[in-house]
Assembly symmetry: C2
DNA sequence: TCTCGTCGTTGAAACGATTCACTATCGGCA
DNA sequence: TGCCGATAGTGAATCGTTTCAACGACGAGA
């Protein structure tokens, strides 16, 4: 069943070493032999066995990418960026979706480590710095994406989430809003915590402003809708007049609940700002203001750093931090 | 640097065979030895080398999934479904994003074949039946997702796209619309062609109805916006009064161009129906009617069939076809 | 003619885990 | 006491590729 390099060698009447050379360094082999070997490969339908190749080489030519949520376009954009950069280097990206689930994240990290990938890009869920540093210590480069590494051992490519939270809420305060709600996902997620810290800073600078934190189980459309329904259930006077959502999925869910189901007016009754500026933000029922992150660039940069560290493990860790940008749309227009 | 089973054996003072047994069939080893081996593993930080394992085993414990567009939530939902089913079987899913690009698709298929994955799920871009049948002939099970296999050699899990196109356009015709445009992506993509065929059937049944086909370069939000701008540039009398978009991303782009930028009224001026019913469809500026596919179920089912075929390669190919369901929302409400 | 360098090719060792035939040990039973 | 079977552990062979020292052939230069 399985055709090996040995069969090819036999048919082409050369040694296995020569077949390997044809595959990997054809310039060392005479043209006639190259042609004969290629004929044999085609005739037998030979396909190289990557496991054997890796075993010998000691490492694979893939890198692993573990994202928090593959359904979030922000992360698929990161994956795109990483994929682009990877294919320019002849490397492929294996995508693992942790689905905001610690076990799955660990399972993918284990899998990638067992596969001896060139390196791992990961947007970690919690505080598994130790696990990641161990991975690094064992020789697998690790670059955090969308999260600043503070331990000092790992590199990271991230966005200044504190600044992002600050500019979002400053903007809401500039509109005259004073009762701001932060619709968080799980507060345990660092990015969420940082955005909250930024929001607090902004609120702290305005005497009569208040910040309410609504924690949620996940960063999803579904959860946004659930929280939106809770808000709707309140007396109108008890509702915030502005919401900063920890990401656009939550914001979209809020819009579904508040505007489409609840009949509230955005931004009149409640102004909303999201985070990530996904493609869909522009086409929501009320176009969504959002804090934009350069997602594709994040992916590209992270992959580049990862490959550099794989080539030279002695490189000092780097922290790249991009600045977020506020995109204002209808959902936070000033009232006349 | 690299710790092997041999080092563990030495430290634990047992043979390599025993270490392997501890890892794979611990019930055959005495408790004392199991404990000693585990201590050694921990002390050395040993991590199994998957390449060696696979080489010996002859196959990996991963399956490959090649999707047309990882940015389309429809495909990430399929991936989720496949991932759920896979983790129930102790298998992991490696996701490749072909980005509607034949070369990338081929590169991922090659990669997966070289990795000797258990099988491949693929939503093929064009008509590469031959390539896929060859893969199958070489011993790698292949299941098409979101596309019916007509050759009879491969299994597939899909949705009746012709029916989907038909119910979408019948619905538009029921609203009294007569000048229908099909905003297609690339017509070369089978699913698009099938949806068009369904649309034609529906239009053919109504004497004075007309169908116009607007071909696009890809199935993306961006392309939808571009086509929307073209429509806007026409005289109002020349515009269709209904649009059936080949997927929701196109429809979202159309909404951005027609409603947000162009000021047209939907559904009054133009009614719109999309395809896939992604999460965001419900929260667009005008809630989008769409043809729903059971995406998660498609992924699950495809993975189950794939594993069954991997276990028993003699199984006859199966074609599972789900029926799509029309979800009507504001974008195709009847006018009063 | 002899020697040297180059080019093309060879074949065996190595990568690390699994597997399987085999050995050693021990308790039970006649 | 002697034999049997069960149990625990051994270690060599194996998977398919890459790599590298070695080799033969051949042409150039002396």
């Amino acid at each position: 069943m399985a055709v090996s390099i040995r069969d090819v060698a036999e048919l082409a009447d050369v040694s296995v070493g020569t077949v390997s050379n044809v595959l990997n360094r054809p310039e060392r082999v005479s043209e006639a032999v190259v042609a004969r070997v290629h004929d044999a490969i085609r005739e037998l339908g030979y396909v190289r066995n990557d496991a054997a190749r890796q075993l010998r080489a000691g490492r694979s030519s893939s890198v692993g990418l573990v994202v928090l949520d593959a359904r979030n376009p922000f992360f698929t954009d990161i994956a795109r960026g990483a994929g682009d950069e990877a294919s320019a280097h002849g490397v492929s990206v294996l995508l693992g979706d942790s689905d905001q689930n610690l076990e799955r994240e660990a399972a993918y990290l284990d899998l990638f480590e067992e596969q001896r990938v060139r390196g791992v890009l990961v947007s970690p869920l919690g505080d598994e710095g130790e696990r990641l540093e161990r991975l690094r210590a064992h020789g697998t480069p690790v670059v955090l994406v969308d999260r600043r590494a503070d331990g000092g051992v790992l590199s990271s490519v991230s966005v200044d989430d504190v600044a992002g939270g600050r500019i979002a809420v400053e903007h809401l305060l500039d509109l005259g809003r004073r009762r701001v709600a932060f619709v968080a996902g799980p507060l345990g997620i660092r990015q969420v915590g940082d955005r909250l810290a930024g929001a607090r800073e902004a609120v702290g600078a305005v005497p009569d402003a208040r910040l309410e934190v609504l924690e949620g189980a996940s960063l999803s459309v579904f959860e946004g809708r659930r929280i939106g329904e809770q808000l709707l259930a309140r007396d109108a006077a008890e509702r915030p007049d502005a919401v900063f959502a920890a990401n656009d999925l939550l914001a979209v869910g809020l819009l579904q609940a508040l505007v489409m189901a609840g009949g509230l007016r955005v931004p009149d009754d409640i102004a909303i700002v999201g985070f990530d500026d996904i493609d869909f933000a522009e086409a929501t029922i009320v176009a969504l203001s959002s804090v934009r992150q350069p997602s594709r660039l994040i992916g590209q940069t992270a992959l580049r750093i990862l490959l550099e560290e794989a080539d030279d493990p002695t490189l000092a860790p780097r922290q790249v931090v991009f600045q977020p940008e506020l995109i204002t749309r209808a959902s936070s227009r000033p009232l006349r």
